[in-house]
Each structure stands twice: as C-alpha cells, then as structure tokens.
C-alpha cells in the first residue's frame, strides 16, 4: 500500500548484471549457425554449452531445454542469453544477432499433430448398451481458447552466485519446484541451492512452472560470469513466450433416456504446446471433471494432450477444469433446450449428492451443497423469472439474456500426489520472546495466504496475531510443504499448521525456544486412487459453485454489456471472509474475460498476435458488472476450521454461464466456443439483420424427427446450424 514492498525489479544488488534472452523467431527449425555481432568485453554469451549438468528443465518430465541446442520448437524458444551491465546495450546487441535456421514443417493444429504427449482413458458402466437403449443421443463439439494469466508484475528473477551456493530469488509460486529444477540443471547438491521468494505481483498459475525455466537460465549465466544476474521480462516478451491456459477441443456424445442422462462418451484434446511441462496434470484434472456435477452411470472418457509448435501451455487458475466444465455445462444446457426443458430444471434432476459415486468411482464423502447454492443464486439473481421473461423479447437492437452454471472444484492435488510426491512438511518455531514463526514453503502471491496462516496459528495458540511471523519462503529456512497451487495451500498446509499449533500449545513453555514439525497424513476415508485406471478418490473433497451472468446484447455491434453477475460459493468455512471474497471476485472477473474478450491467437507463422495490454484485452474497472459474490457455510471436517480449497474455483463456471446468457440474447441456436467475441456474435447473427430469422428450434426438430428411428443412428454434428449462419 505504501509502495514499500520490494518486488524483484526493485532490488539493488552490488555488481548486478542483466540478462536478456534471445528467442527463436521460427516455430520449428534446426539451428545451423548463430552469428553474433562483435561483443564488448563486458558482455558474455550464455548458451547450452554452459549448462553444467542437464540441459533440461525438470517440471513433471525433463524435456524442455534450458537453452535450445540444435532445434527450436516454438517462436519464443530461448537460444541464448546475453549478459552485461547495461540493459539497453544488450537489447541493441540482441537485435544484431543472426540465426541461420533450416525450417521444418511446423504443426499448429493439435488435431493434426502426430505427437501425442499424454493419452488417458477411464470410465465405468455399460456405455454401448446405454446408447443402444437411449431415447435420444446428442453429440456436439466444444472449443476453448488460450488465456494469458496477465499478472501485473511480469516474471523476473535474480541468480546470485557465491562460493558455496547458488541463490535464486524473485517472483514465483513454488520455491521448491525451482530448487529441484536448479539442482538437476547445475548438478549441485540440494544444500548448495537456495531459492527465495520475493514479493510476487500475481501468479494465477503463470508463476508455477515458468520460474523454473528462467531460474535455470539465470543460474547458468551467474555461474559463468560469477556475478549476480537479473532478468525481468518485458510485458510483450512475457505475454509472447511464457505459459498460458491450454486450448481444448471436447467432443461429447450423450445418451438420454426417460428425460435423464444415462451415458456420456467424452473425448478431450488439449494443446500442450511445444513441451510437456504441466500438461499431464492439467489434462488429468480436466478429464476427471469432464462429466460435470451429474450422475452418469455409464461413462467413457478419453483425453489426450498433443504437441504443437507453440508456447508450452501450463497452469492457470482452474487447471484444465474451465475447459471441460465449459463443455459439459453447455452440453447439458443444449440437451435441455432440445428436450424443451428449462436448463436448470433439467440439470437439477440429475445432480450428484453425498454418497454418490464420482466420475472415477470414488465417493462424494461430504455434503454436496449445490441445491442450497442454487436456491441462494435464485434469491439473489431471480434467474428463473428473468430467464422466462427474456424468452419473450422482441427482435430489437438490444436483447437480454441470463445464464447459469453448476460446477465443482476438486480441492488439492489430483490423486495420490500429496501422499506419494509432495509429502508436505511444516514447522512452527517458537522463539525465546514467545513469538512464533510459521515455516512453510507456500508463497503469498496476492491471495493472502500469509494472513490466513497467521490467523490459523494465532487462533490455535490463543495468542495475538502480531505474535505470529510469516516471512516469504526461503528454502534454506522452510521445509518443503509443497507448491502454491491447486487450491491446496490453505486446506492442506493450513490444516498441518493448525495441527502443529495445537501440539505446540500442549508443550508451550514461556521464554523457551521450541520447534514443532508436522507431516502430511493422507485422509483415511479416501479410496486410494489408481493412476492407471483413474479409479478411486481423485480429491479429498470438493468445493461447489453456481455462477449466473446476465447481459444485454447490442445486435448492431455484437457487443454485450454485462448487466449482472452472481457467484455463489461453498468453500467450506471462509477463514478470512474478505480474503475469500476477494478471491471469488477476482476469479470471477478472469472468467468473464475468458468468456468474451481475452482472445489470443497465433499468426499462420506461429507468432502470438496479442502480446501487449493494448491487444490482449483484460477487463478494466469500467467493464465490471455489479458483481455479487456470496458464500455459504459447509464445514469440511478435515480442513482447518472447516475450510476447503477456494482460489481456483470462481474462474471455472463463468464461461458457460456467460455463453448461455449470450445464447438467449442472440436467439440464434447453440454456441460452442469461448472466447465468444463481438466478431463471433455478428458472424453468427449474419451480416444482414433484415435477413436474421431466429430458428432456436432447428436442432430440436432435427432430434425430434429422428427420435422415431433407431436411437443409435441419431446424430447431430456439432458446430452450429446452417440456418443460422
């Protein structure tokens, strides 16, 4: 608030050098030669030859090079770094470097890609039989686009070499991820690598894997020059070359019998980009959520992540879930309309409930609060009433619409990762002055985790909040309590801290130094997750949300004015009400951006086109609707004070609510992709408004006519109706 917080770009270090990166200009090519201009003696070139150990960055697998050696795989791949005392001079020199490339055929369309990075199958029940017995079969294909995290502080780090160790500090979410990557790249012992998080200006997933990349590049440079080296990306470089949300294509085939869904056959394809990075885990979460919040007795899910010659896609709030929840919510809504039912009523009849089986044959062990959330959403937004009223509008310039979606978010890591890989450890250190320091590796990236941790510990110990110290994590001081991802920090790590504090309270001796360590215990109630079969409890519990969007469409310009937005959330019990509300509102707005304005595309040459805040459009204060968020209490017995995961969920359900509202306003059939821009709206409405005759029933009548024939032959191709084009 006072402008005193020091972000990495604000730090002054003696003898500091700057590093600037040379990025590939080609999407897929062999490097034949690197032609450098004559360099002043103060400038050092750093490339793959300088990497002491492994020239691959450890993320999940180890396939992304620190510096490209022979091949570049996307426009933006890093070939070398120039290091020197004057940033402007480095920029000038970089512009004079010439690379001779031999181009290979690039692949930009994941559908055309032959390189399948990850391929998963799961399911249960008798899918074929359910389709054979169905009254109706619906099929449709959905697409979602890239999304840039657009944190206000760009990625940036400093590597500081000393005789004993390498220290990397700066903007990041996961200090221990960075540390592990550095240990492998440098071939050093764990104790010779230190990673420190500085004040971080937003992350949203965008500082989950990328800091490991930049850290390795800078550490190699620092090792070579023997000097501290800093690199803060400029905005265009950050937007053009760092990870984004995976674009997706989801194909759904759904059987309906007696007005209920009896089977889903789902095929999910995610565009991984040039390297695997976090794609396996993003894909896992995406496909586990693919059937949505509905009981599906017969289920078949197939998911793939394929390589394209584009920026590697990674983590972004929701982590695969926004893609598949968008698809399933649209699918359910479209089926309802086709069956001449109100979408919410249709969905509400088949919601999962406590004790039901999850998509992966686990159990919803705890209360499913959706009915309560729906009721609250209805009270606040008057959804049903408006939905009916807007169905009777005239074909005027402005038309209104309202839409609603139902989603969950699986809290914490998928499957057994907490138990098998993360094995979180936290410590509480009581000092002689009876102040207590929280030692955990979770980073405050604006989500307020420091405050929340402090509140938990203070409350357990029954001491004032100002007696609790929470510093930014330093791997030399804090144990590995895991990364700051997956809405796990509060629920999982916060719970460990609560337990540690309870123990400390029992042994508390005033004026004495004391230390308590607490280790992660996998909840006993969980059905073990079989990673091969995708069977068991994928998550310890679920947070739930209802999102409602109301808008007014200008049919002359295709622009939509969001006139109302409501998000009703069950995050268990909010520990800090204001912080949770802030998370819900911020996430919701990112969801609105994802729905209609955050358009990011590659040129035919594989160059990202919207790489500045001028062209990549995120909402301003003037674009925000009167956003209402509300929380209900649904305590989680295994979370601290009943808290569950929160941070990612508000993002997940916005796009389908927005699109359902837009469909109603456009009155022109089914919509099937996000972002759905003003350009898309006019495209769909048709160039000549005099010619527009809305035919909302096209899809329905086709289904109806076909209903008499053998059900298995009934098909509706996805992708909109010719009558509406």
């Amino acid at each position: 608030m006072r402008g005193e917080a020091l972000y990495v770009d604000d730090l002054l270090i003696d003898g500091l050098l700057y590093g600037r990166l040379l990025h590939s200009e080609r999407p897929h090519a062999r490097i034949l030669a690197v032609r450098l201009p004559s360099l002043p003696p103060t400038v050092t070139v750093v490339d793959w030859q300088d990497v002491p150990a492994q020239n691959q960055i450890h993320i999940v697998q180890d396939d992304m090079p620190i510096f490209a050696k022979d091949e570049v795989e996307y426009v933006g791949d890093v070939i070398l770094m120039l290091v020197g005392p004057d940033e402007q001079q480095l920029e000038d020199l970089l512009s004079q470097v010439r690379i001779d490339y031999q181009d290979h055929e690039p692949v930009f369309d994941p559908e055309q890609s032959q390189q399948i990075f990850f391929d998963y199958h799961y399911g249960h029940g008798e899918v074929e039989q359910a389709f054979a017995e169905a009254d109706h079969i619906f099929s449709e294909t959905f697409h979602t686009g890239l999304q840039e995290q657009a944190y206000l502080e760009p990625n940036g780090l400093i590597a500081v070499p000393t005789t004993r160790k390498m220290t990397v500090r700066g903007s990041m979410q996961c200090p221990y991820y960075v540390k592990t990557a550095l240990v492998k790249a440098l071939g050093k012992a764990a104790e010779q690598v230190q990673v420190v998080q500085d004040v971080t200006g937003g992350g949203f997933g965008g500082k989950e894997d990328y800091p490991s990349v930049l850290a390795c590049q800078l550490a190699v440079a620092a090792l070579k020059t023997g000097k501290p080296v800093k690199c803060v990306l400029n905005r265009r470089e950050d937007m053009a070359t760092t990870s984004k949300r995976h674009p997706s294509r989801c194909h759904y085939k759904v059987a309906v019998k007696d007005g209920l869904v009896t089977a889903m056959d789902i095929d999910v394809l995610m565009d991984s980009g040039a390297y695997t990075t976090l794609s396996p885990v993003v894909l896992q979460r995406g496909i586990i959520g693919a059937p949505g919040v509905y009981n599906t007795a017969n289920l078949r899910v197939h998911g793939q992540a394929r390589k394209t010659n584009t920026v590697p896609n990674g983590a972004f709030r929701g982590f695969g879930a926004p893609q598949t929840f968008f698809a399933v919510e649209m699918m359910m809504s479209h089926i309802a309309v086709a069956l001449k039912q109100e979408p919410l009523a249709f969905k509400a009849r088949q919601l999962v409930a406590q004790g039901d089986m999850t998509s992966t044959e686990g159990r919803y062990h705890f209360n499913v609060s959706l009915p309560e959330l729906i009721q609250r959403a209805e009270e606040l937004s008057h959804y049903r009433e408006k939905r009916q009223a807007y169905a009777r509008q005239s074909e005027a310039r402005y038309r209104k619409g309202i839409g609603l979606s139902l989603i969950y978010h699986g809290c914490g890591f998928t499957g057994n990762s907490e138990r098998d890989f993360i094995k979180a450890v936290v410590k509480l250190k009581k000092r002689r002055d009876d102040r207590v320091e929280v030692l955990a590796s979770n980073a405050d990236i604006g989500q307020g985790i420091k405050t929340t941790f402090a509140k938990i510990v203070a409350d357990q110990l029954a001491i004032p909040l100002d007696q609790i110290i929470v510093n930014n994590p330093d791997t030399d001081l804090v144990p590995d309590s895991g990364p700051t991802v997956a809405s796990r920090s509060l629920m999982t790590v916060g719970q460990l801290l609560a337990q540690a504090a309870a123990k400390l309270k029992q042994v508390w001796e005033p004026g004495k130094e004391q230390e308590i360590e607490e280790q992660y215990q996998h909840p006993e109630y969980m059905i073990p997750f079989d990673m091969e079969r995708f069977a068991g409890d994928a998550y310890p519990t679920y947070s739930w949300a209802v999102s409602v969007v109301e808008l007014e469409l200008d049919r002359l310009t295709g622009t939509a004015d969001i006139s109302g937005a409501w998000g009703i959330f069950d995050v268990g019990v909010p520990i800090d009400y204001n912080i949770v509300q802030g998370q819900m509102q911020g996430g919701f707005l990112q969801g609105l951006g994802y729905s209609c304005m955050e358009h990011l595309a590659y040129s035919p040459a594989g160059v990202p086109q919207q790489t500045s805040f001028t062209d990549y459009i995120i909402p301003t204060a003037a674009d925000v609707p009167n956003l209402v968020t509300d929380l209900i209490n649904n305590p989680f017995s295994h979370g601290p004070y009943g808290a569950k995961g929160a941070g990612e969920m508000p993002m997940v359900g916005v796009a389908p609510a927005y699109l359902e509202a837009l469909e109603q306003a456009m009155n022109c059939g089914r919509l099937e992709h996000v972002p759905f821009t003003a350009e898309d709206v006019l495209d769909r409405l048709g160039a000549d408004p005099d010619r527009q005759q809305a035919e909302p029933d096209t899809w329905v009548s086709r289904e109806r006519k076909a209903a008499g024939k053998p059900a298995a032959q009934v098909k509706s191709a996805g992708g909109g109706d010719p009558a509406c084009r």
């Binding site: 006072r2 937003g202 911020g586 995120i618």
Partner: protein, 163 residues
C-alpha cells in the same frame, strides 16, 4: 527558451522538493523515478501506457509516467506514492483499502492509490460510475475491482472534508 540535455539537467519538483534529473530529456519519467531517484514505489507493468502501474500525479493530474519524457515536465510538480504516503489523505485511503481487502498482490496498488486521489480531488463524493471511470486506466488482475470500488467509497465517506 530552455535548452536541455544531460548536462543542463531538468529541474522539477519531486514530492515537494526541487530536484534536477540528469537523464536525457527523452527518458521516460518512469525510469527517472525508479533508476535515478530510486523511488521504486512506481511500478513498471508494460511501458505502453496501458496498465497504469506507473501512474503518478503531475500538478495534481493522474498520468502514466512511462509515457512522459522527463524533459516535458520541467518545472512541474511530480507526486509519487513515496510523497503521497506522508499525507493525511493517504492515511484515510490506507485504512479504507485495508478494511475492504482491496490490496492483493499489491503491484497495481501505488498507481491505484494515486488514481483514487485524483478521482476524489475531482469528485469528493463519486458515484459508482465515476469510480469505475476514475480507476479505468489502472488494470488490476487480482481483485475483480469490487473491493477497490468499495474502498474508494469508504474513503470518500470517512474522509469527508479532506477532499
């Protein structure tokens, strides 16, 4: 006529004190503030005038310091967060922003605070629409703006008479 270069320097008032920048006149004010005067409360988010993180007040008006050549502000008064935080008005904003949890990652905050000051100077009792407009040049990716709008409203109430 005034001729200026790195030797003549460029005189201006910085947070109430007369100073002289020895940067080239075409240098961004943002860089002069951060690199020459080490006032790092002014943040660099894009250098294209789009994000508002580098906002400062010049003669009381909100401007993006990345789009200003330091030579163009000779003799004028620049107020950054470092100067503003010493004021009584800041104390009101500080409390209101804290109470409404309007600060998340904090990177947009110095610019947002100065945008609020400019807004309240022009409209001591702003309407919701005036608040949205007043903050519309300052991007925030964390809060969804709701808490910020609440904080401005709260500050306007509590600080009645100050603006």
């Amino acid at each position: 006529m005034q001729m200026m270069n790195e030797q003549t320097g460029i005189p201006f008032i910085l947070n109430g004190r007369p100073v002289r920048s020895l940067s080239a006149p075409g240098t961004r004010l943002l860089e002069v503030l951060r690199d020459e005067f080490h006032l790092t409360g002014t943040k660099c988010g894009c250098k294209e005038g789009e994000c508002g993180a580098c906002s400062v007040l010049i003669n009381g008006r909100l401007v993006t310091s990345c789009l200003i050549a330091v030579g163009s502000i000779a003799q004028q008064a620049v107020l950054t967060i470092e100067g503003y935080r010493e004021t009584e008005r800041f104390a009101v904003l500080d409390a209101a922003f804290a109470d409404m949890a309007a600060v998340q990652c904090g990177f947009c905050t110095p610019g947002m605070v100065l945008a609020t000051e400019a807004l309240l100077s022009e409209h001591p009792h702003p309407s919701a629409e005036e608040i949205r407009q007043g903050l519309s040049g300052n991007l925030c990716r964390c809060t969804g703006y709701q808490a910020l709008i609440q904080a401005v409203r709260t500050a306007a109430q509590r600080g009645a008479g100050l603006w």
